[in-house]
Symmetry: C2
Subunit: 294 residues, 2 copies
């Protein structure tokens, strides 16, 4: 997804929030803001919001904001989500369509996104709303069939906390599919995105092979990822792309991708053709690829 | 009031809204955004948000966005407010403290601010909430006494629509004060701020001497105003400063100023020490002047 002009104000706001989380030094805040605006003034057409978000984090690091300003937020998000596992599991067990429930809950977990929400969200509300939402039935059927017949599934994770919800979906997948599941997270800390250490904290290695994707971007920019990740991306039978960051960076990329996300802002909603706040399960389509190619 | 780092995202958002209102040409939108970010990257300490807001409007004009993109919005706001006069007048007539009611309503009218609200506001709600609010009793008493004894009152108007509410306050002032009231508006169109033509549309010349302030800024930057305005500012016994734009540009200026405004954003609220949304009547204090001097 390209950087829309509507994204500029949001990116500037997020940069300030991130800089403040990293340090109290107001000179650092000002330097980060300047760096981000300089980047926005000089965008190339192939830049996505994820490119700018990564550079924001680089600017914070370079301005002296430390390596992992979100460390505490991340631990807290994982803790909160782990506490909810019994409730989430009972939702899945009680649902007439277990996979639908697990997919909806995985999407609900995507609300745990400090970047897009500024840390202000209602997790319980997101869960209720996702469970009450209607996924596209045909897409869900195709998803189930492809997962069932897959040998290799690449699951692109997103945020801490959210990865607990993802774990439950992976467990659900194992109930009807013999596919190997590789769960990719960011190799280096960025925003509250999950890294291998965060994935370990919630027991993801018990249900999937967890790898770092080789990058420190809050999305999946393939050019910045490891050879291993690119190889998996090229050969996986199903790619599950979680969250807005992965959508923004992969929305025009060829592949057997299913996007599972909350449309947390107007712009992403418009790009997807749905209202803000929608629970989205969307298969990558030739139309989307053509659209992204401009 | 200085440009806080929190203002940047809001200014960028407002610039895009204004550019879109002016033209559908996306290249113009992009040029305006670049101009505004370049300005934000190169602020002087004496710059207020009003300085940047004016430059945004200049950038829109220079990029081909026309002279008065808000013309239609302004007519609509005046029309809506004029329709409400009977209701507003009955509120004042029924109130045990007529002046308090007129002041509160004048502040309620300040919600008609396209810049700060993006055109999304609930006028009825603003009126109810202002009438239910508590003004500082001591400040209101001092205001009444100073107005009563004044020979010259300079009333710095703000937005179209809002000036209808101001007219009722001026009428109320005439009931107990013999002061001459000079009502200053922007000389040239900027955002939905009132100009002399807009003031005429709502009958302001019937109750006050209406003048243009010599400037096209959406506030009162004295350096940019006419000699006449500066002279009035220096000699008025009471200065009524309406709205956020006038507050942002005059908050540290010496003078017998009373600020009447809605704190429509967190930053202005913080600067005033009140929650966002507060109905504010505030006398200029030596402390405020010292604070602005840094």
């Amino acid at each position: 997804m390209k950087v829309y002009l509507d994204c500029h104000a949001c990116i500037v706001r997020q940069a300030l929030e991130a800089a403040r989380l990293a340090t109290d030094d107001e000179q650092v805040h000002a330097r980060v803001m300047k760096a981000v605006m300089a980047r926005l003034m000089d965008l190339s057409p192939e830049h996505t919001p994820i490119h700018v978000a990564r550079e924001t984090q680089l600017a914070i690091r370079e301005a002296g904001g430390g390596d992992d300003p979100y460390a505490e937020v991340k631990r807290e998000y994982n803790r909160r989500a782990l506490e909810m596992v019994p409730v989430l599991q009972s939702h899945i067990d009680a649902h007439p369509n277990r996979l639908a429930a697990a997919v909806k809950l995985a999407i609900a977990g995507n609300i745990m996104d400090f970047g897009a929400t500024g840390g202000i969200f209602d997790l319980e509300e997101a869960i209720d709303s996702a469970l009450a939402s209607d996924l596209d039935a045909e897409t869900l059927d195709t998803f189930r069939r492809q997962v069932e017949n897959a040998r290799l599934i690449l699951y692109l994770g997103d945020n801490t906390g959210e990865i607990v919800f993802d774990r439950l979906l992976v467990e659900e997948i194992h109930r009807f599919s013999n596919a190997e599941v590789v769960f990719a997270v960011r190799s280096h800390p960025v925003l509250n995105d999950a890294t291998p250490a965060d994935a370990e904290e919630v027991g993801l290695p018990d249900v999937a092979r967890v790898i770092g994707n080789g990058s420190d971007a809050p999305g999946t920019v393939l050019d910045w990822c490891s050879d291993e990740l690119r190889q998996l991306f090229a050969t996986a039978d199903v790619i599950i792309s979680k969250g807005q960051g992965n959508y923004e960076s992969l929305s025009g990329t060829k592949g057997p991708i299913y996007f599972l996300l909350q449309a947390k802002c107007e712009v992403v909603g418009r790009d997807l053709g749905v209202p803000k706040g929608t629970t989205v399960l969307r298969a990558q389509t030739p139309e989307a690829i053509r659209k992204a190619a401009g």
